[in-house]
Subunit: 403 residues, 4 copies
Amino acid sequence: MTETLPTVRQAQQPGDAKPGLRIAMIGHGFMGAAHSQGWRVAPRFFDLPLHPEMAVLVGRTGADASAAAWGWGEAATDWREVIARDDIDVIDIVTPGDTHAEIAVAALAAGKHVLCEKPLANTVAEAEAMDAAATDAAARGVRSMVGFTYRRVPATTFARDLVAQGRIGEIRQVRAEYLQDWLTDAESPLTWRLDKELAGSGALGDIGAHAIDLTEYITGQKVTTVSGIIETLVAERPVLGEGSGLSGTAGTTRGPVTVDDLALFTGRLESGALASFEATRFRTGRKNALRIEISGSKGAIAFDLERLNELEFYDATLPETQLGFQRILVTEHDHPYLAPWWPTGHMLGYEHGFSHQVVDFVTAIADGTQPRPSFADGLHVQRVLDAVERSSNAGSAWTPTGS
Amino acid sequence: MTETLPTVRQAQQPGDAKPGLRIAMIGHGFMGAAHSQGWRVAPRFFDLPLHPEMAVLVGRTGADASAAAWGWGEAATDWREVIARDDIDVIDIVTPGDTHAEIAVAALAAGKHVLCEKPLANTVAEAEAMDAAATDAAARGVRSMVGFTYRRVPATTFARDLVAQGRIGEIRQVRAEYLQDWLTDAESPLTWRLDKELAGSGALGDIGAHAIDLTEYITGQKVTTVSGIIETLVAERPVLGEGSGLSGTAGTTRGPVTVDDLALFTGRLESGALASFEATRFRTGRKNALRIEISGSKGAIAFDLERLNELEFYDATLPETQLGFQRILVTEHDHPYLAPWWPTGHMLGYEHGFSHQVVDFVTAIADGTQPRPSFADGLHVQRVLDAVERSSNAGSAWTPTGS
Amino acid sequence: MTETLPTVRQAQQPGDAKPGLRIAMIGHGFMGAAHSQGWRVAPRFFDLPLHPEMAVLVGRTGADASAAAWGWGEAATDWREVIARDDIDVIDIVTPGDTHAEIAVAALAAGKHVLCEKPLANTVAEAEAMDAAATDAAARGVRSMVGFTYRRVPATTFARDLVAQGRIGEIRQVRAEYLQDWLTDAESPLTWRLDKELAGSGALGDIGAHAIDLTEYITGQKVTTVSGIIETLVAERPVLGEGSGLSGTAGTTRGPVTVDDLALFTGRLESGALASFEATRFRTGRKNALRIEISGSKGAIAFDLERLNELEFYDATLPETQLGFQRILVTEHDHPYLAPWWPTGHMLGYEHGFSHQVVDFVTAIADGTQPRPSFADGLHVQRVLDAVERSSNAGSAWTPTGS
Amino acid sequence: MTETLPTVRQAQQPGDAKPGLRIAMIGHGFMGAAHSQGWRVAPRFFDLPLHPEMAVLVGRTGADASAAAWGWGEAATDWREVIARDDIDVIDIVTPGDTHAEIAVAALAAGKHVLCEKPLANTVAEAEAMDAAATDAAARGVRSMVGFTYRRVPATTFARDLVAQGRIGEIRQVRAEYLQDWLTDAESPLTWRLDKELAGSGALGDIGAHAIDLTEYITGQKVTTVSGIIETLVAERPVLGEGSGLSGTAGTTRGPVTVDDLALFTGRLESGALASFEATRFRTGRKNALRIEISGSKGAIAFDLERLNELEFYDATLPETQLGFQRILVTEHDHPYLAPWWPTGHMLGYEHGFSHQVVDFVTAIADGTQPRPSFADGLHVQRVLDAVERSSNAGSAWTPTGS
């Protein structure tokens, strides 16, 4: 079970000596499937400077089956042992947030490049430790990156480019929201995601983090202070399965929801502009609506993840009779990340961001540059999340993010 | 100049003795044109219990021309004289907000029914006086109503009906926003609307008031407490015309903007649900986007004034594979207010709300019932606006609206 | 019943001697209500060179009530008598199509300006007679126009302007469709609109005529030859009311549908470009979707009457990464017809086209110019309709329109 | 170069003896990349009954590099030799259409299962030979399928299901169009796709074929007779590269476009309902708009490939005030093909259809059933294309498809 994939490596490099980059992925839930698809597909479409090899998948239970299903060369159960191996170059962390810090710090100390899923950690303290470890590691040429893949939807990257080029002028306001509805039903069960011990946070940390990161990424500005409220709309939910108690009948036992269902907050950007945020699992009918609209003195851009191949752009410098939001299909050869994919008008999906993440991470490793979003970027998002929670506890008082 | 319009009255009522209702309108700006269209058109499509006659238009200057253009029987300059006349039944107030209280209180005292444009007043104190006068007048059979006409877009009325029928279940959250962009250009001049003395308020009072009223109308719940921020994004603007100073050349003199450009706030409804609000004149590319989305336990509704003939409805009780927002064209015979208009699929415009307002006001007068939105409703909106301003001054502290 | 509306006339012209233009409208169905609204409202918003007076409404039965409801000065039953009157300047024909020719020819002969609802006539022969009469009348300074009001939606007029300015370059193709669904239900009854004797045509003449006229208007080109098919999808329908027969119970008697339900045809424009047309009452869910998309060498425009305040414009000369259809809200001051109406972003409705029609017709009368669409334009549309029907009968053979 | 991928096979099947299915793909253009992605990804998400192995990629030139890039076990140059090999189970044909017949007939004769890209062939005669070979092969348990992957977008499959369940009732009409714009620029060069010798057909065969197949798939009905026109809008284009002649300078030489740019036709379905089709490379601004709308007596469905994760559904049986097209996000667990992919609201892209194609083809092979679309289905589409071309040559005369 420990051998690599030599045949594939040969096939990949006929008469070519492209160096390999051996990956171990820790964790194998939903994000494990998505990261696996990124590692699998990226080298088939992009000409990477290093050839990633899906070497080891690590999981406490069931890793064998996942490794087989997803095409990892072998499975392992102890992440410490894998980190200690000389034949592993990269640790890809897709475990729940409470384990990120320990694994990442250890991996960086062992000289492994680290890709860590968002959120960077469950607490600011953990994230600070990770950021410190990343800084140390960078001095030794070891790279680290956090997995905010929605930066790598071509439309959001293109939005960032338009903003950077001054196409919307000075930023006046931002509206960023991430709307889901899977908790609308009050009888929806009490899963681990609703337990603060395990999940760390609710809508705020899970999806609000994306809205914050995307805002900071596209505007190029940090959120410096926040005022807001987080709230749990349904306080108790049915406990699932065995945990429902010895004497209880199905559905009769209820347990407390200990994370937020909803976060509403306002932040101020470095330039002074205000940004309004919403993260919720209760916007009935909205399935995965990460939306951002940035209003500037010369134009505006609007994006909705439910139509991820489109970017709306408004050019306020046109004659008054010709003003209007323009639906740009971000599928042209010259749009970000698009060249190796399909012809114009052939859509990309959710998972393509994971291939783009692999491209950027592997390229940064080969080039010896700092990939973004860095652990420092991830730490900052963590500080914003923390400040929102503290503001909520303080009656929505304005709370600095410490950045 | 004081005679009525006998020919029209006869034409209106062949063999019919429908009593007349003589209207005097005070003010003749943009709202004057809109109200005139309402008085002119409503009786041509709806079978009203009383026949409104456009008797007198009152304005300090230029009322003659406006009366002629809009078809009022005569013009006058002194509103007090007009209120004192026995042949006037209704006073329609479309002057700036700082004059509403004085006129309305006097008119009600004189036994005239009063229709008053929104916002009800520029201050809570004024609004309270008006509400007290309205209560007194009601005891004498004299009616009063405030002009939040966006309640009378058929799609919003229908939304209210769907909510009242329980089609979206228990309300979980509300998002209400009124987005405009006419101040995006920092060189846009300093008009009276940007002067607190005259306008009372900026985006908050002008358009935020609509977002608040529509939320309270559709949900049937009041906003009880708020936390938010109001802000002026462009602090100084070019002074227009004579006011630009003796020695200044055109455009060189600048004056301070003394009202808000932007208001972001969160409110709690009576049921405890949170509502997130935005009112802004800086959302580049958004011209008149009064939007509301109400998320409930069984469904959701969404409306955008830029597509005012449409209502989006989401029925969460459908099978999972058939869920989706439904674009209802609110142009069917059985939709609110629609029967007397055009066939299915023939669109209404902005001004039709003013005809519907006439219908409801005249009907309430004839029936001897309290028309809505009442002055009490208008006072409540004023209190919410005031609470938002106070919250903003208090670092976004949660502030009760006193309702 | 014959007196005019002197009070209104005075009110309209304080110190002004704007000459009057006395209108008699013949017919008082749905189109009568729409035309009345045009005559009523246009002079209140637009500064017309002549002042239209709603003098006489003519109808065989019930004209009194309609005249009263709509505000016409008097009612009459015999159109010939009204045409003979010296105090009438304009005849507005809103009767069914089978009577247009006789009335219009007589009115023009009597020196009355004529506005005639579309379709110009039920047959090409009738339309030819009307066109000849119009040509004769024009030589005497008498004007005539046919009522294709969808040319006067600001968005379609603006589309015409963009095309005329070369903004979409050389026209490559056109798609024009008018989709309704009110016959989807096979149990929908057999109304007069489904009887060829009375209605002349079905979907083809009723709504296909609009698609043809709009195509010719916006492109500036005539359809020269056509190939197509018309078809009746539901051959028999329930007969309504008394006509259901002596012995039949309600709903048991059925009669034949003698007009088309659906027309699909292709036409060639003068430039050689192909245009594809559809007119149907069976496109389930489409209520009033008159849509046109014109594709050119440099751009494209797209319009949908269900969103009549919007025009989509595509500028193919932009850089490749910035291409996209732009949703222009056609509500700016400088858009066609918009200046006298409401501020930006305040929507117009279906009926506003009838005011714009009044503006253009009255202006042409005052200026002594030929208003468009002329009877010649209406005749041409009639010829296209006729050619489609002949093509359908000839197995879709290409059939010249004779233009 | 001939060895298989044993490591991957082991990884795929820990403790499992899932039999392998060895694939050889002939051709390596754009479609080769798409098919490779299908073979690569499908087994990682779906539990296939047989394990596909990407064994051999065949190409006259450059196959080595493509095989390496895409992960095929080996490369080969002679398809006949590969077909003769015992260790190959499936031949996947992605060459240009003029070679399909020879390869497919030979492969089926050799007992290989065949997946053939659309269009099945360049002529009806070739397609007939292929269908005959497929019928013979099927008797021996050898399977064949044609690659209309747009049937396997979850939204189109779901549309087919809704129609089959009677949710839209009796089909009244169909509109199917495939709109592109890459030839809008008259200076766009003369590629092989514009040469009838090589491409067989233009817009009609390339993209019109998809519109026909999707119509027949969703409705479950064949097109029996057609009337239409095909046309070349730009007759000559610049010749590219060396072929531009000895003495010519770049861009000065022009050659004839010998295929159609545009096809407009009407077809009749087996039930008698009419379907209107358009296939064009000149609809400026439309990049890849394969759209279909099916109108029925009880409802309608509408789909647009530019928003491929959405299906619009109209339920005409709802109360009149609640009618409207519903935007269903086809990303639920119970939607077709969705279960193994991502959570609700996470979008699929263009390429996922190729994985779904692999799933259905491999499953049919394992189950011993006839996969669809069969060569008979592909032959039928070919006959429709041929009938359209003949109709066009015969002045749009109605021409039976012979089905």
